[in-house]
């Protein structure tokens, strides 16, 4: 009798367990891969969106957060294997994969999600997601513009003063600007017996900072590389001449000993490190992450009170974010913006829910806390987001400059028009040309000819 009771009880438990597991199996899931935030605020905001979405729809969000490099590597592997997540957002997709995936037909057309909210986005940011599909031979929306970054100048105000200069002494014109840092500031520091370099000038082949900085220089010299149809126009005499000037100018900072010699081997964090170590007085950097580090330290409980106070002083007084000087022709520079894109994969299992999730995330009340969670490292792509007090109040000295740069206007990278430029950026044809000039001592004209030949070989 006892054994019969056991059997019945066991059967009952088994039935309940089966019911539960059945219910679990039945729950719909959307798989989402994101780059892990630089700051806790980003991840918290994302988790809040996920939570809200799950409650609103009953759909489970299977969220995975990956380090920047892992995120794109895993995504590429998954796409190749035909097992991608439903939604992917890695902050280097735009530089490396989005355009190619769109061209190869690996992405879902998201026009139906974008169309109703199109007016809410900055047109120049939205334009970067309107991509060519090589299979359909037509352009369409294949990505979502989540956030963006721009290039900024960052300098130590206190080191500038130590060299005997005021901020108002910094020239606004192109040549005078670099002469000021290289000759006057560095010269003054060296006269004091300090082995300090004026500029942290990324030259490393493996650094995305290098091509971002170099292309900003090319932009300063009006070197147009492709047209809006993706056709390479760099070989046109005007553009080629401008590119030669850009290579000369970029190489010149190294040649005059104005940047640490090790900058030829720098990876992405190295200009930040040199700046934090006060080896350099200024640097150019995509995003305001250098200042942001000190802001983060201001409230870091792992640091001592004294260290937090120093970080506060650095963020508020000692470190300055600034715009690039005017172009050599005297006109104002338009900033090169990299729009960070989220995508839905063509092979995704749950595209319907993936679109719902992205539509939900892109709602202003969800997107804005996520973007602002990066404390200024990423800039909003929505019109409302960039006009929020977070950016416009002027209370934060660094964000105020970013806002001003945004207002000056932005232009996209070449890979938006011709996805092959992701390969050229990865290969860093720009840094190679500069390194040929400074290391192999060849003429900039020859280096640019080589560069054009390589660009034509890869991008047509």
């Amino acid at each position: 009798m006892k054994s019969v009771r056991c059997l019945v009880t066991g059967a009952a438990f088994a039935a309940i367990a089966a019911g539960w597991s059945g219910a679990a199996v039945a729950q719909e899931t959307v798989t989402v891969w994101f780059t892990k935030g630089f700051y806790k605020g980003e991840d918290d905001a994302l988790l809040a969106v996920v939570d809200k979405f799950q409650k609103a729809t009953g759909v489970k969000v299977d969220l995975s957060l990956y380090a920047t490099e892992d995120c794109v590597t895993k995504s590429v592997g998954a796409v190749e294997a035909g097992t991608p997540p439903d939604v992917g957002f890695c902050t280097t997709y735009d530089f490396r994969t989005t355009g190619k995936w769109a061209f190869d037909g690996k992405l879902e057309d998201v026009t139906d999600v974008i169309t109703p909210i199109k007016a809410e986005f900055q047109p120049q940011a939205l334009a970067t997601t309107f991509l060519m599909n090589g299979k359909t031979k037509a352009k369409s929306y294949y990505a979502f513009p989540v956030e963006q970054q721009m290039m900024h100048i960052t300098y130590w105000k206190d080191m500038l003063e130590e060299a005997g200069f005021k901020e108002s002494d910094i020239p606004k014109g192109w040549d005078g600007y670099w002469d000021f840092w290289c000759d006057k500031v560095q010269g003054a520091m060296r006269a004091k017996g300090k082995r300090i370099y004026a500029v942290g000038h990324p030259m490393g082949i493996a650094a995305s900072d290098t091509f971002y900085s170099f292309l900003t220089f090319a932009n300063e010299f009006n070197a147009q590389i492709v047209d809006e149809d993706g056709k390479v126009v760099l070989d046109q005499p005007k553009n080629k001449a401008a590119m030669i000037e850009a290579v000369k100018a970029y190489a010149n900072i190294f040649q005059r000993g104005c940047t640490p010699p090790s900058s030829v081997n720098w990876l992405d964090p190295d200009n930040n490190v040199a700046f934090h170590n006060r080896t350099t007085v200024m640097t150019h950097n995509a995003t305001i992450s250098i200042a942001g580090k000190h802001m983060d330290d201001m409230s870091n409980p792992a640091l001592t009170e004294e260290q937090r106070a120093t970080a506060k002083k650095n963020y508020e007084d000692n470190i300055r974010t600034a715009e690039f000087p005017t172009k050599p022709d005297g006109s104002k520079m338009t900033n090169l913006a990299a729009v960070k894109t989220a995508v839905i994969f063509a092979d995704a299992k749950n595209k319907k829910r993936a679109k719902e999730f992205m539509a939900f995330l892109l709602k202003d009340e969800n997107l804005q806390p996520f973007v602002d969670g990066s404390t200024g490292r990423w800039v909003p792509t929505t019109l409302k987001g960039i006009e929020s007090p977070f950016w416009t109040s002027g209370k934060d000295p660094h964000r105020a400059v970013v806002y001003k740069q945004y207002k000056d206007g932005t232009i996209p990278f070449q890979f938006v028009y011709n996805y092959n430029f992701t390969t050229l950026n990865a290969e860093n044809v720009w840094a190679k040309a500069v390194n040929r000039v400074v290391q192999d001592k060849i003429a900039p004209e020859v280096a640019v000819d080589e560069m054009i030949a390589r660009i034509k070989q890869i991008a047509g």
Partner: protein, 298 residues
């Protein structure tokens, strides 16, 4: 009339021949069973990965793209120079040092223990420590040059392409020299001391002793070790990648680091192709080495 063929009645097998064939079958079966794990492991660990790699490398467009890449030819030249200089220099030094370490004195044995350390410790921290030490701004060497002699811009150990390439070779030699020295020390110790004593009695100089006793005895070991070292040097990724990353300006890549550079750029096909392209260099070396070893076995 139908012709009928009568099969010759089979001769009854003798008991002993049955036992022999049964025994042979058993031996063959047991042999196969004992061999199976090795065959399985060999298939899984060697045949499949190598075969899969070769299969991935069958895209001819990758080779066209590889040869079109301006960095490739430079990389091939770098690889050959690296191989030639590093292997020969390493063995020349190892040969000389083995003459020193073969001395049976306590303090020499102590120095030998210290000397082996670079080979014994892991590559990553040691090579990275070289990288830090050779940093042109903050590295120990240039800091000292600045501190003691006021030299603001010391040598570009890792930023000048030629110097950086030399440093990669130096680190490679530093790392692998103890091992090969030890091999040659072992070779020297195997030479009968009577030969030296007899030569000494005959009035042979040290050089003559080396020329007529040491070198002929060591030659086979030296050449075989050199070949093995060439294969390992060709695949040495750490010395170049950890020290310079193939830089500055991608000018110092060797084949083993170029593959990783392509793969980092999500270009798997070119990565595979750049590694498979080294096969014509490796296979003859493997062939000659196996041939030499077979000769030795005979």
């Amino acid at each position: 009339m139908t012709a009928t063929t009568m099969a010759a009645p089979a001769l009854p097998a003798s008991k002993s021949s049955d036992a022999v064939s049964g025994h042979t079958r058993d031996r063959a079966l047991w042999g196969a069973i004992m061999l199976a794990p090795y065959v399985l492991v060999f298939a899984v660990m060697v045949v499949y990965p190598v075969g899969y790699g070769l299969w991935l490398g069958l895209n001819w467009n990758s080779y066209r793209a590889l040869f079109a890449d301006p960095i490739f030819i430079r990389t091939v030249i770098n690889t050959i120079v690296f191989l030639f200089v590093a292997v020969n220099l390493k063995f020349a030094i190892a040969l000389v040092l083995s003459g020193f370490f073969v001395a049976q004195r306590a303090w020499v044995r102590f120095v030998l223990v210290l000397f082996i350390l670079p080979w014994a410790v892991p590559s990553i921290p040691t090579i990275l420590s070289f990288r830090v030490m050779l940093n042109p701004e903050n590295g120990m060497i240039n800091q000292q040059l600045f501190h003691w002699f006021g030299i603001v811009e010391g040598p570009g150990w890792l930023t000048d392409p030629t110097l950086a390439f030399c440093m990669s070779i130096m680190v490679h030699i530093w790392k692998s020299l103890p091992f090969w020295t030890l091999i040659l020390v072992t070779g020297r110790l195997a030479i009968a001391q009577d030969l030296y004593e007899a030569a000494s009695v005959d009035g042979a100089s040290k050089w003559q002793q080396f020329k007529f006793i040491t070198w002929p005895s060591l030659a086979t070991l030296y050449v075989t070790s050199t070949m093995l070292s060439m294969i390992w040097t060709l695949g040495d990724f750490n010395s170049v990648y950890l020290l310079t990353g193939g830089g500055p300006g991608d000018l110092n890549h060797v084949l083993s680091t170029l593959g990783i550079r392509y793969m980092r750029n999500n270009n798997l096909d070119l990565g595979i192709a750049s590694i498979i392209i080294a096969m014509p260099l490796i296979l003859p070396m493997v062939y000659f080495m196996v041939k030499r070893l077979s000769k030795g076995a005979e």
